[in-house]
Subunit: 113 residues, 2 copies
């Protein structure tokens, strides 16, 4: 565990430029985060104890129609930033830490040589 943390702390390797295909895939995720409402949705889920939020709580946090929030949730699901699970009448949303982590790593700038 200690070693892993140290490894994670080491400077990231210099990367080759993204090819067009990979760039398109990654850009889809960033585009999903490029809407203020979706960014707030992710933020709400991230800061919620238990890591799980009911769709109704998300809808209630905005002055937008329920279908609009539902649309944004679908976009975030489609790019792999959220997962959902239905329990009885309610749908609960969670973050996908792997996706967040991948994006975060991509933004980590190689040491300015």
């Amino acid at each position: 565990m200690e070693i892993l943390e140290i490894l994670e702390c080491s400077p990231p390797p210099a990367r080759e430029p993204l090819d067009a295909e990979r760039a398109a895939a990654v850009a889809r995720a960033f585009k999903a985060l490029g809407d203020p409402v979706r960014l707030q949705i992710v933020s709400i889920v991230a800061s919620h104890a238990g890591g799980e939020v009911c769709a109704c709580d998300i809808t209630g946090a905005f002055e937008l129609s329920q279908p609009t929030i539902s649309h944004h949730l679908k976009v975030l699901k489609d790019v792999g930033l959220l997962t959902s699970e239905r329990r009885a009448s309610w749908v609960y949303y969670r973050l996908v830490p792997e996706t967040l982590g991948d994006l975060s790593a991509l933004l980590t700038v190689p040491a300015t040589a």
Copy 2:
């Protein structure tokens, strides 16, 4: 330096949800990264030794018109992801590591309690 590295390695604190105003500001940056061409531009600059790339080299990397690339560079500058410096006839672009770092940190998920 050692201590700073350790601090940077500590798990990120749980965050309050972004308010609408901050979300709008951050979303602008993510939206800029949400275009495949702009993402590749950032990637090209990031992976370039010296951290500096001539606009002409960026334009040459795409099968897009020069004004289109110029437009994308302006977008990336406006959100603080790139800076530019003119030297003679050429304009050189650099990343802004602080902005990249801020975005990266925002995507670091708090430990799933």
